[in-house]
Amino acid sequence: MSKGKSTPLGRVRNHGAAAEGTGHFVGQRVSAIALLILATWFVLSAALTMDGPTYLAAIDFLVSPVNAVGVILLVMVALYHMRIGMGEVINDYIARPFTKVVLLLLNALVPLVIAAGALFAVLLVNFGA
């Protein structure tokens, strides 16, 4: 492959959207396997241990160290997984460059902000005054 002779356009052609495909592909699968365990654990243990969606039940659930760590991991891995996935959906369906860039930017920022808020919330419940 005479990579040195090709133009930037030639190098990009036939390599997918931005040559990021493999990293995203692997990240999506690794996070999928982690979520298989984490999200299933949360759904089952929340449904079986919480006595309805009350404030006290929620606090009780979140002050257990195992539950707190599990929820933190779930939030981080899920937001990573859904960000890659939604990036692919946006790339597939949105053709207008401006709209696409705005949506990709939102998709990059919103999960990050939400994750920061959620992690701070779990810490506050455990260590707050």
Binding site: A39, V43, P53, M82, M86, V89, G128
Partner: protein, 131 residues
Amino acid sequence: MAGATRPERPLSPHVSIWRWHVTMATSILHRVTGVALYGGMILFCFWLMAVAAGPEAYEPFGAFLAGPIGQIGLYLIVAAFAYHLANGVRHLVFDTGNGLKPADAETTAWFAILFAVAAPIGLWALVTFGG
């Protein structure tokens, strides 16, 4: 170019010749449930923040979740999750090169749909009647 006779070329894919397969439904449902879970995860994070904000701030959130719309919403999120999970496992198996024969892919497709219907019903039965 070839005058009056049309060239005898293969015209693949035969866009107008097809029949319905479950695998079409599983494909698009994976995407639909993935996007639904995106919303579900954001709600989940807001729920965590509402808990941290204290009992008064949590009140309306908890009331919404306990009400009919909240309960139906939770049920649908669990169903979307069950589907995305079962079909996600299919995807992971496909990635190893297995299960791709049309007959196998259709069998597992029906299994994923069955799981998505049965799992939330089972979970609700367990929560409601399990003690």
